[in-house]
Amino acid sequence: LEEPLLFEIGRTNVTGVDLPEVNTDAPNRLGGLERAEPIGLPGLTEPETVRHYTRLSRQNYGIDLGFFPLGSCTMKHNPRLNEKVARMPGFADVHPLQPRETVQGAFEVINELAHWLITLTGMHGVAMSPKAGAHGELCGILCIRAALEARGDAREVVLVPESAHGTNPATAAFAGYRVENIPATDEGRVDLEALKARLGPDVAAVMITNPNTCGLFERDMKKISDAVHEAGGFVYCDGANFNAIVGKVRPGDLGVDAMHINLHKTFSTPHGGGGPGSGPVVLSEALSPFGPLPYTARTADGVVHLVEEESADAFSKEHFGGVMQSFGRMTAFHGQMGMFTRALTYMLSHGADGLRQVAEDAVLNANYILRSMEDILHAPYAASGPCMHEALFGDRDFGGDLSTLDLAKSMIDEGYHPMTVYFPLVLHGAMLVEPTETESKATLDQFIAAFRSLVERANAGDEAMKQAPYYAPRRRLDETQAARKPNLAWAEPEDD
């Protein structure tokens, strides 16, 4: 069933709410700025609205419908309890600027979640306000820059591995740094010796993803950290893949100075078709003083404080000996409360034991896929040992002119979301498969069977795969046309 656009079915004189008619003669205090022209916003009654969006929703695929083997994206089950909790009126219907005495529960949630994040990572502090992973990266890099500036140390370079998420170099550039690549070993890990050779007084930070985007643990992480610290720099860790190690290893023990945590990945707040995210950043002792405002802290009397511009200096003097020197505010208000309640609910549900099991099952599932596919797909790092939470394959071994993309689109017809493709960039035709811990063995077995059969079809040169998907709401979409002549808003069709 096709669903028309709102603009094709709605009418500007129809509404799905019951409000008093506008009295255009009533006196007003709008300063003569009344909006006189039509705005062009069509409305629908409630029955039409519900049907429009219900139908639209059915053109989507979601975790609730099936498996998303999306490497580095950690598409895991979103527990419904989390949704219920986030909607409790004490969380959902509270204004961010209410007097402190009326929002102690909210401060406690932030503080309790902060405690979990610090404890799970073995770090010293955490900045809670970043709105998403990339915002968290920015926060971490700004902490590093502030710390360096505080000691009068102007450095210019941030080192980033080629396999990094695109946000890493973009963030460093946005914060005013020059980005240089770190080379990798044949085993898919950072080349420690090459890195050491590059370190020097101009290097502000190294940004490393660990486990990395090849799905491997950076064995030399501690040595890297030590070397960076010795050179006067800081270590930023991209925490997108924390799912693989939560409860098993603490990044703080590996010398990390800052790491953002995607609450929508490791801690299962829903992706929502692209957001909202939430990206708290855990910080080492060296960086903690420089984190953004506001932050929460519990004082000896048990009261949780939200420290804002208003009270920051006084609070720092009274409770932190004046050491806190925030680099400033990154966002209005106090961060993604709605994500905090969900993530905390998830953590309390799993507990310290359950989160450890999360990492173990995520890694077990990924290795199960790796070992079930390595005989028919190029798995360049498989020989060097187990993977972590995701398994990486390349397109080297398939025959003919079929591409990774064809394989991915064919997965749609098998009832799966495609895996991550062409990322990381270091491997030709990369396919990155992350099963997460919330998929059952039965699901994996089915997936493996489907995946193997597609690889076999590709090897046999099945040209039909070039046109896949066949059984989706749409066939392949013309992205070139979309970009060449962008049509980004609806316009009334012109009369013939």
């Binding site: 799905g16 916003l41 004490g90 961010p96 963030t171």
Partner: protein, 453 residues
């Protein structure tokens, strides 16, 4: 554990297939000294749904929900009635648990919604093109400043003193780390915004002027002259709006010449949520600026069979393609909040939006008139939409706490927003929406009388 489908038997079979003896064999790459030997200490063990719900409910009850008190807070976050079907729709698993629509063949639901959303925002703002949302209004404001610098290749930014102070802080924080220079100030206590003063600060170095509309004190002014002045100097006008409902009653920023319009979309569909997640809106009046925009964009195209469809497009601006050369490091948008906005706006339609705006304004006028009669209180504004500034003749921060003690959430003190700025300390921002009842207005009036007497 209720979210983990593997049984011990499954785990055994899988380890056997992998050829590993124990699960720890899969963690061999972790240096032994870094491996934890059991659950991290200092945290509780797993708990039942019932137990977790009980704990979280206890915490939630330590907050005073807005519905349980006469409520008058605004200052960038507004409480409106959200139709119940909105939440029902955003909880459908196909929306809630969908990924970013990078595979458009199975994400047309999200994509078509975004296309509708972009169109709604562009029209509301009087612009040509809007993006698929950013984190919130304050970060959208910074992105607009950064974009203006890219377009004009200038780096001096003029901030209106009446820009939300959190927004101004975000811009200033970010600018510390970039090369932008920021000129800003706090607002003057006067009944209309100081456009002339603002215009006088624009010069040949100015990349953009940033103005809030209605401004932080709730004041409304025609921005056409600011736009003209900026354009005359080759600068762009960035207009910030934190209350989209206002645009159902007053002229759009685009109509008045704004080049980039950004704002907070929370008021429609999203709710208060103690400040987040919210919804950054971002639009440009001139389509030629599209390639300098930050964030995701959804565009129309056709599929292999010629059917209309939608895709994320112009991604060559974005970090996952351009890496350090991207227009922004932003990756996530605020997709589910954009859906909530989209559904709420669809339920309203133009008719409902105008009715909603009229009802907000009617009640705000009623409240202002009533509160002005309280001894010692005056209304600062000549003009306003649904929020205005009361001058209460004493430190408004204290007044707010005293009102709270009487069970009334009476507004936001300017002292909270501008700590240390003495001339603003007696100001109290009062917001009134359709959720405000006449009894609420009466309750605030009475409580304020008692507190001030």
């Amino acid at each position: 554990m209720r979210y983990l489908p593997l049984t011990d038997a499954d785990r055994g079979e899988m380890l056997a297939k992998i050829g590993a003896g124990t699960i720890d064999d899969l963690f061999v790459d972790v240096p032994e000294e870094a491996r934890l030997d059991g659950p991290i200490r200092g945290l509780p063990m797993h708990a039942s749904e019932m137990a977790v719900e009980k704990h979280m409910r206890k915490l939630s009850k330590k907050n005073l929900a807005a519905a349980d008190a006469p409520f008058f807070l605004g200052a960038g976050a507004y409480r409106h009635h959200v139709p119940s079907s909105v939440d029902q729709i955003i909880q459908r698993g196909e929306f809630l648990t969908a990924y970013t629509p990078y595979q458009p063949e199975i994400a047309q639901g999200t994509l078509q919604m975004l296309f509708e959303f972009q169109t709604q925002v562009a029209r509301l703002y009087g612009c040509a093109v809007a993006n698929a949302s950013l984190y919130d209004g304050s970060t959208a404001c910074w992105e607009a400043v950064a974009m203006a610098s890219r377009i004009t290749r200038r780096d001096h930014v003029v901030l209106s003193g009446a820009l939300h102070p959190h927004y101004a802080e975000v811009v200033k924080t970010m600018a510390k780390f970039t090369s932008d220079e920021i000129a800003g100030a706090e607002p003057a206590i006067q009944s209309t915004p100081d456009n002339a003063g603002l215009i006088s600060r624009i010069d040949d170095q100015t990349s953009c002027v940033v103005v809030q509309y209605p401004d932080i004190l709730g004041r409304i002014t025609d921005l056409s002259e600011v736009a003209e002045a900026a354009h005359a100097k080759g600068a762009l006008l960035v207009v910030v709006n934190t209350e989209p409902v206002a645009l159902g009653a007053i002229k759009s920023p685009g109509e008045m010449g704004a080049d980039i319009v950004v704002g907070e979309g929370q008021a429609l569909g999203v709710g208060l949520q103690f400040g987040g997640p919210y919804l950054g809106l971002f639009a440009v009046r001139d389509p030629k600026h599209v390639r300098q925009m930050p964030g995701r964009l959804c565009g129309e195209t056709v599929d292999a069979e010629g059917k209309r469809g939608f895709v994320l497009t112009l991604s060559t601006r974005e970090q996952h393609i351009r890496r350090e050369k991207a227009t922004s490091n932003i990756c996530t948008n605020s997709g589910l909040c954009a859906l909530a906005f989209n559904v709420h706006m669809t339920l309203l339609g133009e008719k409902g939006l105008r009715q909603l705006a009229a009802e907000n304004h009617r009640l705000a006028c009623q409240a202002a008139d009533r509160l002005a009669k309280v001894p010692g209180v005056s209304v600062l504004n000549d003009n306003y939409f649904n929020e205005f500034t009361l001058m209460v003749g004493q430190d408004a921060r204290e007044v707010v706490h005293k009102l709270a003690a009487k069970g009334v959430l009476g507004g936001v003190s300017l002292g909270r927003l501008y700590p240390g700025v003495d001339r603003l300390s007696e100001g109290l921002l009062v917001a009134v929406t359709e959720t405000t009842s006449e009894e609420d207005i009466e309750a605030l009036t009475n409580a304020l009388e008692e507190v001030l007497s």
